[in-house]
Symmetry: none
Subunit: 209 residues, 4 copies
């Protein structure tokens, strides 16, 4: 049944089109930003023409929004993972920050998502809002949970940063921005940064009698 197989491949192709487009859109939007990206460039990248894009997505705006949704894998897994962490609370914090680094610094999608939120936020306020709900809020909550449990267990002192966990964890953002700006020109030693960061804040949080 070669005909059927052929048809199956074609159908498969079609079923993949939207994804293909979203991924091509991601690449182009990353390269040039929303305004400067042309629908035609996205089309070319997957070997189709403008019309095809418009068959699947109403407008450029819509395509951008869908693309954002497509690369957004909420932090819910971080929260979930955070709950499953074991060991001392210092170890848990270390692993939690590790998860953060793996997402924000190492995972290209998340990194660029953050960039989009910054660069196109004024054009797409819903994107900013969603990002807040799906990333920031769960992330803060998870961090606070661990920290408070650490305090309760007597492992951490009741520092003001317990209630404002980004004040402790936030250096991650510095590295992230550095990477965004100078990744190619001034490469950073991510591991060393991570170790230095964790070292300072754990020493800063640990309870001493």
């Amino acid at each position: 049944m070669p005909a059927k197989k052929q048809l199956g491949q074609r159908a498969q192709r079609k079923a993949q089109r939207p994804q293909e487009i979203l991924e091509a859109a991601f690449e182009e939007f990353v390269e040039s930003g929303y305004v400067a990206t042309r629908i035609e460039d996205i089309a070319k990248r997957i070997g189709v023409t403008k019309g095809t894009i418009y068959f699947y997505f109403e407008t450029k705006e819509r395509l951008f929004e869908e693309m954002i949704r497509h690369i957004s894998v909420p932090f819910s897994d971080i929260s979930a993972n955070a709950k499953n962490l074991s060991g001392t609370y210092s170890e848990r914090i270390r692993m939690f920050i590790r998860l953060l680094y793996d997402r924000i610094i190492m995972d290209r999608n998340t990194r660029e998502l953050l960039r989009f939120v910054i660069t196109e936020g004024s054009r797409f306020p819903q994107v900013v809002d969603r990002h807040h709900e799906e990333f920031i809020v769960p992330f803060k909550a998870a961090a606070r949970d661990i920290l408070e449990a650490g305090v309760a267990a007597g492992e951490f002192r009741n520092a003001p940063a317990i209630k404002i966990p980004d004040a402790a964890i936030g250096a991650t953002m510095m590295l992230c921005v550095w990477q965004m700006l100078f990744a190619d020109r001034k490469p950073q030693d991510v591991e060393a940064f991570f170790e230095a960061h964790v070292d300072v804040i754990l020493n800063g949080l640990i309870a001493r009698d």
Copy 2:
């Protein structure tokens, strides 16, 4: 002497035009970004027409670059101030971070400058480069100077963050990005953040026997 006064007004006006334009450009570029800002909007903001802008600035690109230069007040003053700090090294670090907050978080120009570096960096690589030279490098150097002196004085332990000061100080960037994104919708308590931040890292750096 109405004639003289009138002349003075004219000359005065002329002398101020470039500044006026640069400031209007700043506001518009902040609002809409480089691409989406129209020269005409900038003109309207100060009650003139397109042509006037072009009388003072060759192209939109040039205007943007000059605007960036106009709002860029290098960190050199931070470095200078950093050298004049006195007191214990903990106090000095506290004051140094305070300077940072005052610039990056509180000063609108610096905050938006950072945003421009992020959002328009790919279109204006020179801007990114200049920013690196004039902001990042001096900032890191100043931070390291204080930290190393603190270690030499026996006040700080020789933590890995001494050599990578952004790992300690970087939470500032988190707040900065938060402000950039949610300043209006989700206001932050900057002072509390600052205190929590300083508290953690000073406790993390201090030498204990």
Copy 3:
């Protein structure tokens, strides 16, 4: 088969568009010159809009150059024809000049091409250069060939104009310029001019013992 016919029309249309545009461009450029011609006027002339022109031609400059190429039918045929002339050398010169008149005076494209070379030459030096290679050089060579053969055959005396054929044939240019300037207002009797021209120079070249 209306569908097929329709398809054919479309494809046909598309295939003709570039030519259609080039011809409309020719008319407009002839009427107003390069600078004063608006792309939109060219478009209107064939009932399309600006965008369509830009779909086929990158820039106005490019369109002009292609238009020039499109109306340029090199003199190579004149050279070829010149070689096939027969009869006395006087007859051959007569026929050669006739070819010239047919091209430069009667053929609108060639006439306007020359005008473009004069009027837009400083903006399009390549056009001038190409014109020199494709028109002037072959033309002079062909003229000299006949004249020298005429001398060799003893039919023409060895006048200085044998080596500088434009000195004999050049009156054509006078008529051409007259036509360019006053064609409508002060019409010329081309045939009479031609006869007078040929009469003078043949009488001037003929060898008499």
Copy 4:
């Protein structure tokens, strides 16, 4: 009386301004053509500003027309000279053509005037008309006068070119156009051309029994 002298110089200056402007306009229009020449460039050339030009000339169009008038020295002198020629009619024709060469080929103003008539003629029809009246008509009349006198004197045969003198004299235009187009790239030997031209047509016109 230094004050008076100064004033005199200034007044002199002012009196010369229009001429100065017209000459600067000539240079700029020659270089760039009517449309592409900017009033400001003309002003700069004589060290004044736009406003000054407009003080003396209503519009750019007007300035161009006046400039044309300024460089137009009618052929009336040629006609006058033509009447004063003496010697054989062959010698007179030779001298008449010499006058033509001196004007059309050697005199920059006349050469560029012809170019303007060709390039800007459609924008300035009055210029073309005036040129016809002041240059072409007297030139043809003068030529015909000599030729007819030569026939009457039995020196020239009654060739058709007697009534259509441009058919005999017109090679001048060929050289003129060559110079306009290739003056710099492919220099011509004007004297040789002149001799070849005169040689052919005199031999072509001379009466032989």
